[in-house]
């Protein structure tokens, strides 16, 4: 690595991460190679080998009018398994299911792969094994209970889910959030981004053979989770960010805790980069693997680090700032080739940028309330309940019936560690949402898997899948 790009100052100019030079030719070459092959893009021009339905369980994915495999079986053609002859490749297609119970699929993703030897020619992701009907559940829970529901979707970044939900409810409520609550929200979500990226680099390392990374990443993440536990009471699924603010103020001495956690993460990052950057096996496994072009990323809705690794300069924190994040200074790292290695570089840099934001919050945390004083959503203080009957009734109504949200429709998106996490809320005036649709980043990412995986060998499929960081709870909801 020539230079650590996080030293680049200034908001507007995004640092472009340069992979080592030998990656350049390989990466571009791989782009050309993959473009030359017929990728099946649903709905666009169908290559003639797409045979009708690609339904789950259908074993006939290829038209088999002439079957050269028969000749091989009869012994007419002598075929050596160890030689990859392009002339005999056509007859060796077989369909293999990877998952849903495969350790490298990060949960319960099933990949329906059409293999030619060890090369994946077509792949179809099959999802739904973790579907729990959260959108339907959201319609039966009041707005106050809703954040307990959404926090369980993307279980590696629960606070981002809660933030998105709270923001969309607040849009319709028209409630202003005090600056301290906003800063706490940004602090927690950025720490969550660090934790999520740490677990990503841990599992990514494990999937491509750097087993120590698994231990290291989880070890450093623990420092952040310990802070979360101190603030919210829980390590995961916090239900901390709620419509109207946050559940509780930060505990005394939180600055020291955050600084300590940041120091641990900072030291860990140096370790990871010593371990991975420049490691020839790591470079070989990641460079030029699993490429997605900017146009494909946009067409498939793949956002976040995946699009940014492809060079798409788009970060929701910059484009549509929310929760006062525009007051903090940070850069958006961009990749160049859109391959697995760029995704690694982008995420490592995003950890650093999130740490930058957290450091700024440490200095500028505003005083004030941690939730809005609007009595529409916030129960009256405990003291008032003792003196006022109305306050008691109000308190009871808010917790039994929930607050009502005026009719309307709103869409809110936040930059989750995986990309654009959006929620579309339709309210009809009651205390429960009429419809809450969640646009999860992993869903779109999984949809774009065939684009990245076609014509890779199986080990590269594992590396690509690991680099995308899909959370299956987020995909299936």
């Amino acid at each position: 690595m020539s230079e650590t790009p996080h030293n680049v100052e200034g908001d507007t100019e995004a640092p472009v991460l340069e992979p080592p030079i030998q990656a350049a030719d390989e990466g571009l070459d791989a782009v050309e190679r993959r473009r030359a092959h017929d990728i099946w893009v649903a709905g666009t021009e169908e290559p003639d080998w797409v045979a009708g339905s690609t339904d789950e369980g259908a074993q006939e994915l290829l038209p088999r009018d002439i079957d050269p495999a028969v000749e091989v079986q009869r012994g007419l053609v002598v075929d050596d398994d160890y030689l990859e002859e392009p002339t005999v490749i056509e007859d060796e297609r077989q369909i293999i299911n990877m998952g849903p119970q495969h350790p490298a699929t990060h949960g319960v993703l099933r990949l329906h792969m059409e293999l030619e030897g060890e090369t994946v020619r077509r792949v179809k992701p099959i999802i739904g094994y973790l579907h729990t009907g959260m959108e339907k559940t959201a319609e039966t829970l009041s707005y106050m209970q809703g954040s307990t529901n959404v926090t369980r979707m993307d279980y590696l970044s629960p606070l981002n889910n809660e933030l998105c939900y709270s923001l969309v409810v607040e849009q319709l409520l028209g409630v202003e959030i005090p600056p301290r609550a906003q800063a706490i929200r940004v602090l927690m979500t950025e720490l969550n981004r660090i934790a999520s990226h740490l677990i990503w680099v841990a599992t990514f390392g494990m999937d491509i053979g750097a087993l120590s990374m698994m231990i290291y990443g989880f070890r450093e993440r623990e420092a952040i989770l310990a802070f979360f536990e101190k603030v919210t009471g829980l390590r995961m699924n916090h239900n901390y960010i709620r419509p109207g603010g946050v559940a509780a103020d930060l505990p005394a001495g939180w600055e020291e805790d955050v600084e300590e956690a940041l120091d641990i993460v900072r030291a860990g990052l140096t370790d990871y980069e010593d371990l991975l950057n420049g490691n020839p096996i790591f470079l070989d496994r990641t460079q030029g693997v699993g490429i997605i072009t900017p146009e494909e990323a946009q067409a498939y809705g793949a956002t976040g680090p995946i699009a940014r690794a492809a060079g798409v300069n788009f970060d929701l924190r910059k484009a549509f700032p929310y929760s006062g994040i525009e007051q903090y200074e940070f850069d958006v790292p961009l990749g160049k080739y859109g391959d697995t290695h760029d995704r690694y570089l982008v995420r490592m840099e995003e950890i650093r940028q999130s740490m930058r934001i957290v450091e700024q919050i440490l200095e500028t945390m505003p005083p004030g309330d941690y939730r809005t004083e609007d009595r529409k959503v916030t129960p009256p203080p405990r003291k008032r309940i003792d003196e006022s009957m109305e306050a008691l009734i109000h308190h009871f109504k808010i917790f039994s019936e929930g607050f009502k949200v005026p009719p309307g429709e709103a869409y809110q998106a936040v930059e989750s560690p995986r990309g654009e996490l959006g929620m579309y809320l339709v309210a009809k005036g009651g205390s429960k949402p009429w419809r809450l649709h969640v646009r999860t980043p992993s869903f779109a990412t999984v949809q774009a898997l065939p684009v990245m995986m076609t014509d890779l060998i199986i080990p590269d499929v594992i590396a690509t899948l690991a680099s995308l960081d899909p959370v299956l709870g987020d995909v299936d909801r």
């Binding site: 579907h131 869409y411 009429w434 869903f443």
Partner: protein
């Protein structure tokens, strides 16, 4: 419109007056959406301004016009597909709403396209020829809400098992309950 160029607030004011003067059907007042509104007179634009955050524009499109309109929208710079979902407004005349959410990264702008569908015939042309990313989202809308997307290459269930009956996100599909062994906890038993 011509003289005012400096501050943004004043420019907005001028835009509003232009809207009122020019014609009965107001333009969205946006440099990217205005040409679309002119090209498609049947499409109605509404917008919602939350107290924080950007304005949210919605285009209400008849279902016959969807494909030409979406194509024009893509040409106008909305290159990124974000989301498609279906909303069931039970007992409303067009019972379903299909909401297509598009994003223009170059203009930093969002546009929601909303199509109403009748309850007895929830069919819509698939937009996968225009946006490949709509594939899974249309399958999800079919799976959970029973919207048929014509022209979709692989309209199968996506999150539910293949042998599932019904479309659970419809409002007339009950949440259901599981009997629990506590006295009076389950009303029907």
């Amino acid at each position: 419109m011509a003289e005012e160029t400096t501050p943004q607030e004043e420019a907005v004011d001028v835009d509003e007056t232009v809207e009122q003067e020019t014609e009965a059907r107001p333009l969205p007042g946006d440099p990217i959406l205005d040409p679309l509104a002119e090209a498609f007179p049947s499409v109605e634009f509404t917008s919602f301004q939350p107290i924080t955050g950007p304005r949210q524009d919605t285009a209400h499109v008849a279902r016959e016009d969807l494909i030409p309109f979406v194509t024009a929208v893509k040409d106008a710079g909305f290159e990124t597909f974000v989301d498609t979902c279906a909303v069931d407004h039970l007992n409303r005349d067009p019972r379903y709403d299909i909401v297509i959410n598009l994003l223009s990264m170059q203009h930093t702008q969002r546009l929601m396209i909303k199509v109403g569908l009748p309850g007895d015939d929830p069919r819509l042309d698939s937009i996968t020829p225009v946006y490949a990313g709509a594939n899974f989202y249309e399958r999800e809308a079919w799976d959970l809400m029973g919207i048929v997307f014509e022209g979709h290459t692989d309209l199968t269930r996506i999150v539910l098992p293949d042998d599932w009956t019904g479309h659970p996100l419809r409002k007339d599909y009950s949440v259901g309950s599981v009997p629990v062994q506590f006295k009076g906890s389950h009303k029907s038993s």
